[in-house]
Symmetry: C2
Subunit: 414 residues, 2 copies
């Protein structure tokens, strides 16, 4: 079955705001075996809305309308949907009572406008909204003699997503022909994009019954495999088979088969080895630490470290001898190694990381261009150093360097 998602709201036709709910809803629909064939963004003009809804009804089976259910004059999704279907609105007594009760509980005065939210399209089912005042609506109806399912859900993500999960999905499951879907997500780090394609495309393109999506971002590659079959076992088997081959091809690049982030994997290995980590960051300026500490419970293995942005701090926090900085430069393999060793010794961590480089846009030379970054990982036995040159602007260089740093720690622990 085919679906169109319509996001309603003039603010999403400005340069400043974008619909994001539809990504979530698309994921949920795909798991049911429903394809999203179109997405449309339309403003708050009733005429435009009616036009868009009728266009959708003429080309898909399922229409999800998000937004435009609030109490203001601009909120016209109810009215436009009724227009598009030549149906009428009725003011629902139960919804009216709950709107009054809500206002009373919050001790808020109740503007006349709010009553609009109790307008329900005749034949529609009211969908509860525990997180806001605007209820949703579900319509199982016909348009030009074809059966159509229409959902009206609120725009704010914290209202939209729970309502879609609790009210729309169970109803859709009853109507949509049961499909059996298997899904796997593989993640790999620091594999060059062109190499990834050369390596993986010959494998996954032979599995024409599996929908393989590849996402790449700053040294991170995510492969999602989705397979729909008449029975669950066959779907799982097919995905398992392809995943196995891809995992083998990805070899050391693969860091996760269950969708975890690279920092979660690093923390997992640290826990497994009962090891701790401390970092000394220069050009990444706290990005490595920030990614690691974004994971709940990271304090069990991550001690912290230092942002040694200035040279004196490289000395005072990471014990890098000033003469070494003078001799080799702050951006050098020697200084990266000294940073890793110094921060390790200063904190008593099992592993020390050092990162120093030229993030740009200025500061590069012929010998040491913008994008050059030195890394070092130290343990009690030895210190390994690496250098990489990343392309792109300051932000991109820092993102790649952070990803590389985390991946070096992963490989050290593997």
């Amino acid at each position: 079955m085919k679906c169109e998602i319509i996001a309603v709201g003039s603010e999403m036709l400005t340069p400043f705001r974008q619909d994001t709910n539809s990504l979530y809803i698309t994921g949920k629909l795909n798991e049911l075996g429903v394809t999203v064939a179109y997405k449309t963004i339309v403003g708050d003009r009733r005429k435009d809305l009616v036009n868009v809804i009728q266009t959708a009804l003429s080309r898909v089976d399922i229409v999800v309308l998000m937004g435009g259910l609030g109490p203001t004059e601009d909120d016209l999704t109810r009215e436009a949907t009724a227009d598009a279907l030549s149906l009428r609105l009725r003011r629902d007594g139960a919804v009216l009572a709950s709107i009054h009760a809500r206002a009373a509980a919050w001790r808020m005065p109740m503007p006349e406008n709010n009553l609009k939210q109790a307008d329900v399209i005749e034949t529609a089912t009211v969908l509860l909204n525990p997180n806001g005042s605007a209820p949703g609506q579900w319509l199982d109806t016909t348009y030009n003699n074809y059966r159509k399912l229409i959902m009206l859900v609120p725009g704010p993500p914290n209202e939209c997503k729970p309502m879609f999960d609790a009210e729309c999905l169970p109803r859709l499951r009853e109507v949509v022909p049961r499909r059996h879907i298997a899904k796997r997500t593989l993640k790999a780090a620091m594999i060059p994009e062109s190499q990834a394609d050369k390596l993986l495309a010959p494998i996954y393109t032979t599995y024409t019954d599996i929908d393989t999506t590849i996402l790449a971002h700053a040294g991170d590659i995510q492969l999602t495999l989705l397979c729909t079959k008449a029975d669950q076992e066959t779907a799982e088997q097919r995905v398992e088979e392809l995943a196995g081959k891809l995992e083998e091809a990805l070899d050391d690049w693969l860091y996760s088969s269950e969708g975890e982030t690279l920092e979660q994997i690093v923390l997992y290995y640290l826990g497994l080895r009962q090891a701790t980590l401390a970092v000394a960051e220069s050009c990444t300026g706290g990005m490595v630490a920030q990614r690691i500490t974004g994971v709940p419970g990271s304090s069990r293995s991550f001690l912290g470290g230092a942002i040694v942005y200035s040279d004196p701090l490289k000395t005072s926090f990471a014990n890098v001898p000033p003469e070494m900085i003078a001799k080799y430069g702050a951006v050098s393999a020697e200084v990266a190694a000294a940073m890793a060793e110094g921060i390790r010794r200063r904190t008593g961590a099992t592993l020390g990381l050092g990162v120093t480089g030229i993030a740009g846009p200025t500061g590069g030379t012929d010998q040491k261009p913008v994008g050059l970054v030195y890394f070092a990982v130290a343990d009690a036995q030895k210190t390994d150093t690496y250098d990489r040159t990343f392309r792109g602007d300051r932000d991109r260089v820092r993102q790649w360097a952070t990803q590389q740093a985390l991946d070096l720690i992963r490989k050290k622990l593997m």
Copy 2:
């Protein structure tokens, strides 16, 4: 004039990828006085594409088609646009030559498929693409006897945006009736959202000739004012007048009138006062440093600091006495103050910042709930401490805390 932006590509109908070019193009179109009335996302099926293009031509004056111009079988925007307009494709000799030249320069074999990229709709003008192999196309044509402008531009952002700027905008400027537009962006930090609305709405809603957009994110509020008039001076005057009133109302909350980020403003003030900054971060785990070091040239005023995630590091890097941690707890005003003072003394910075809190999801108590964060800013004379409780998940608490920390430094320097 009204425009529809159509993003072509099945990958944008998955849960994983989203069109972002349209935000950029919308901004450019708005500056010309063109309104984006619809955005549509459609997959790579020729029939669906023709349907979407014809729908667009029936409801707007200008259609921007992004993507589907590559060499693969899935790239069908050329063919579908020709179908929708009942026009033919011709293979363009000049484009063909440039595709051959490009392949030769890169010493790459030239697949037969690539020639497809030389197919140009009859009556269309070829748009140069210095950043890729697929040229764009510009059509000034009619549909059902109405004049229509149609642009075909590539999907990759690094090809799409430069082509739109260099090839489409100058042509649009010649056709679109000249409008005079004034624009201002105001930014404010840490003003509660409900208070912002109560404070600002009574002011800007009286300026019905100015389009005011408010964006709020984790303690950051951005107001964009856009005014279109018959002459530039009137437009500027109106925007200036409203901006002045809003600035007055925002008072200390306002940190920028020119669109700078909060970290840029902090660095600006540090430079102005010839002051330096060092940070000791616990719950924010490097986020403050990461935002500051994201600004090119930040090393002039930012020395670095420590991520004192574990208690021993609070002592060894920021001189916090262990007895103090034992007595008041690591999350306390006392420890935040000691962190700020300690990191300041250890680094020789003019200002020291300390941040310690409970980011969650666990670790909260009745007295110290998840979301509670203590801040301290120290200079040579004194140390100011603050506490705030933020709502939301771990990521949100950390984002709010980072914003608050930067704002406290800004206020200290003002």
